[in-house]
């Protein structure tokens, strides 16, 4: 079951393979910038402004909704500057690598029984693997900029992303053990059809049992997307933007889209893993209507998780690099290991 069957089901025509491939690519290519725009507007511009007792943009479009489009247009108009000593090829490629890693995560995120680009048996494994590709892009950017601040930012990012890859994976392990599968689609079904001590009223969203995992996942996501309190790679007041410092115009825009697109993707993963994904605990999960309702349900859950992520972002100061490593290795990883052991015991006992 793929998106192709959805389209054929809805339009009552058989969609050839090449057409469905184009549709899928088109959908993803639309979703990522839209996601970045939505998060950027709702949280970065508006929620942050309200928290800081200001209005945020109000002029471009109703309530400033078009502000980010205007900003995007502005970025595209800017000169594409290469620093004199930069490694031009690597410098030009780095933002693309970051963006590609963001695009690749979206491929496996399910938004309905059939509304998924590619249903992989190892979906969550794949998502976490491609998400860590972005560190390559960031390192490339840091190195190729031929700038000391950029280099420090790149190295900080490398250390940080590798340290937080572990708690991220280990936090997900609890869910995987409980659901018994790596397939994101089946994880959704397992939650919708689950029961809490024999009562299936609200299914069994894994946040109830895996709250420790959810917490670790959110902290690790915060670090993976280099947001405060873990924004040392870009720390404006220290290394003035880190690896982004030499980037201008649309390449900078790519980094911006990558950052917010990844935040959206991780929020979507959290929604799938812990909040029940696109499904509601009532009704027939294979009903085609979920292909329409699913994305909406997902969006609500994603925005809820993203609100949490951005709430932290606007509230907390920044940790220091060594404190960040200490938090990862001495607290999050042992905690997630304990979580796995406890989950395993319950899985065997119950």
């Amino acid at each position: 079951m793929t998106a192709a069957t959805v389209m054929s089901g809805l339009l009552a025509v058989e969609v050839p393979y090449w057409a469905s491939a184009i549709i899928k690519v088109g959908v993803i290519a639309l979703v990522v910038p839209t996601a970045a725009l939505v998060l950027g507007y709702v949280f970065l511009l508006k929620m942050m402004s309200f928290m800081q007792s200001r209005l945020g943009p109000m002029e471009a479009g109703p309530y400033g909704t078009l502000q980010l489009l205007a900003d995007g247009l502005k970025f595209i108009q800017k000169e594409d500057i290469f620093p004199a000593k930069a490694d031009r090829t690597v410098f030009a490629l780095a933002p693309l690598v970051v963006l590609v890693s963001t695009f690749l995560i979206y491929v496996v995120i399910p938004t309905g029984p059939d509304a998924v680009v590619a249903q992989l048996d190892v979906g969550i494994f794949y998502a976490l693997a491609v998400s860590s590709l972005s560190v390559v892009g960031i390192l490339m950017a840091g190195w190729a900029s031929a700038n000391k601040y950029a280099l420090m930012g790149g190295l900080r990012a490398a250390g940080q992303l590798i340290a937080y890859e572990l708690p991220l994976v280990l936090a997900v392990m609890g869910v995987v053990i409980q659901a018994g599968t790596l397939d994101l689609q089946k994880i959704v079904t397992a939650q919708a059809e689950g029961e809490i001590f024999g009562w299936g009223g609200i299914g069994n969203p894994f946040i109830l049992t895996q709250f420790v995992g959810f917490f670790i996942f959110l902290v690790a996501v915060q670090a993976e997307t280099t947001q405060p309190p873990f924004d040392m790679p870009v720390a404006e007041s220290e290394i003035v933007g880190g690896y982004q410092v030499e980037y201008t115009g649309f390449r900078f825009l790519f980094f911006f889209m990558g950052e917010f697109g990844t935040a959206f993707a991780f929020a979507a993963l959290a929604a799938v893993l812990f909040l029940g994904g696109w499904a509601l605990p009532w009704g027939d999960l294979t009903h085609w209507g979920f292909n329409i309702a699913g994305p909406v349900i997902m969006l609500v859950k994603v925005l809820a998780v993203a609100a949490l992520i951005f709430w932290f972002r606007f509230t907390y100061p920044r940790l220091r690099e060594d404190q960040l490593q200490r938090l990862a290795w001495k607290f999050l990883i042992p905690l997630s290991l304990v979580n796995i052991v406890v989950t395993g015991i319950f899985k065997v006992v119950l």
């Binding site: 942050m48 928290m51 800081q52 007792s53 200001r54 000391k148 601040y149 420090m152 405060p228 309190p229 924004d231 040392m232 720390a235 404006e236 007041s237 220290e238 290394i239 003035v240 606007f314 509230t315 907390y316 100061p317 920044r318 940790l319 220091r320 690099e321 060594d322 404190q323």
Partner: protein, 392 residues
């Protein structure tokens, strides 16, 4: 023993130092990198340049380089009449401008042997404390933003506005009041100002309470600032630190209480806050307490404001008799003093400005040895300098 002539000895010594230098250079070059922080860097809020030699993320040595904003106020003051000088020195510490005028006027008054009437002295003290609040409020937000928390600085700007409004209502200038005159003040307070100011002080106490929880109570803020940039009292004194920086090292010294200037501080009941730790956290803590204390000082002064004239009898054209005088006050950033030399002209013969930030920043090479790059920012933010106050 072979005998070596003086020339040869000199030559050998030269070769030896060259070799030693070369060895040292090679060692340093292979080990670290030199990072130029500034003069355009968000953390230096102005144009301070910091040349830091790094080993990874650790600072081997750091040297502040100042002078990018030197405006030559000491020289400019020599060609301006005494009342004109206050317009210049407003711009030294631009966040607490009124406080800059006071010590200069006090020094001039000493030379002229006039004293402002009590009401003028009290209002002077009120405005002095208001500019302290306006100044330090911004520090309270700024240090948080240097540590990566975006929100507090907006709250600080928002609430600072109330104080600036009061300063504007009384003096007509938000940033550069130019209100202090030799022998008194330009004007009396406007009607209703006292009640408004008391309400504002209420708001500022709420602001202090909020920041005590929001920033000081934050675990990450504590982790970033506790034990960072510790200044032992004797080192701080040796480097000439003043103000909250030295009080945070446990030195109980405040010119408002210990100075001998004609201000109304001895008329009110207040406390000098100190902290034993001497780290960045202590400096933030002391400043926060001082802001709250300043609101109490203002309240008490407004309650007991004496009536009477606002100006002493001074000639319309001010000619200061020959002589020398020094006056220093406890400004928001620390001790600020003016040494005024007069030859009996319309203009001062020489003005030496002792500004607090210049001395406060001089401790950075000592303080920054061995810290990590993020701690540079913490320490610079907690020492709290204003570029105009360093370069003048």
């Amino acid at each position: 023993m072979t005998s070596v002539s003086a020339d040869q000895r000199q030559q050998l010594a030269y070769v030896a130092t060259q070799a030693a230098d070369a060895r040292l250079n090679v060692e340093i070059e292979t080990e670290g990198m030199t990072l130029n922080i500034g003069p355009q860097h968000p953390a230096t809020h102005g144009t301070l340049r910091l040349v830091a030699r790094l080993d990874g993320e650790q600072v081997v040595e750091a040297e502040p380089i100042m002078g990018y904003m030197h405006r030559g106020y000491e020289k400019l003051a020599e060609v301006r009449t005494y009342p004109q000088v206050t317009t210049l020195i407003n711009r030294i510490d631009w966040l607490g401008s009124f406080a800059n005028e006071v010590p200069f006027i006090l020094a001039a008054e000493k030379l002229m042997e006039v004293e402002a009437p009590p009401r003028a002295q009290w209002i002077r003290t009120v405005l002095f404390e208001l500019s302290r609040i306006a100044n330090i409020t911004l520090f309270l937000g700024d240090m948080a933003v240097q540590l990566g928390a975006l929100t507090p600085v907006f709250m600080a700007f928002r609430d600072r506005e109330f104080v600036l409004n009061q300063i504007e209502a009384a003096t007509g200038g938000r940033f550069h009041p130019n209100f202090d005159r030799i022998g008194g003040l330009k004007d009396d307070l406007p009607q209703g100002w006292i009640d408004d100011t008391k309400q504002t002080m209420e708001k500022m106490r709420d602001f202090c309470d909020e920041f005590e929880e929001l920033v000081l109570g934050n675990e990450i803020f504590q982790a970033r600032s506790r034990g960072i940039g510790i200044v032992p009292a004797e080192v701080g004194l040796a480097y000439g630190l003043s103000g909250a920086n030295i009080r945070a090292s446990g030195v109980d010294w405040d010119l408002r209480r210990d100075g001998h200037e004609a201000l109304a501080y001895d008329q009110v009941d207040w406390k000098v806050w100190t902290h034993p730790d001497g780290d960045s956290f202590a400096r933030y803590w002391v400043r926060l307490q001082e802001t709250r204390e300043a609101t109490h000082i203002v309240d008490q002064l407004l309650d007991g404001l004496p009536s009477g004239p606002i100006m002493a009898k001074v000639p319309r054209i001010i000619k200061v008799p020959a002589g020398e005088a020094y006056a220093a006050t406890e400004n928001p950033l620390g001790e600020m003093g003016y040494y005024v030399v007069s030859k009996g002209d319309l203009v001062p013969f020489r003005v030496k400005i002792r500004s607090a930030s210049f001395s406060n920043i001089s401790i950075t090479p000592w303080l920054l040895k061995g810290v990590y790059v993020p701690d540079i920012i913490t320490i610079l933010a907690s020492l709290y300098f204003i570029l105009g106050d360093i370069d003048r």
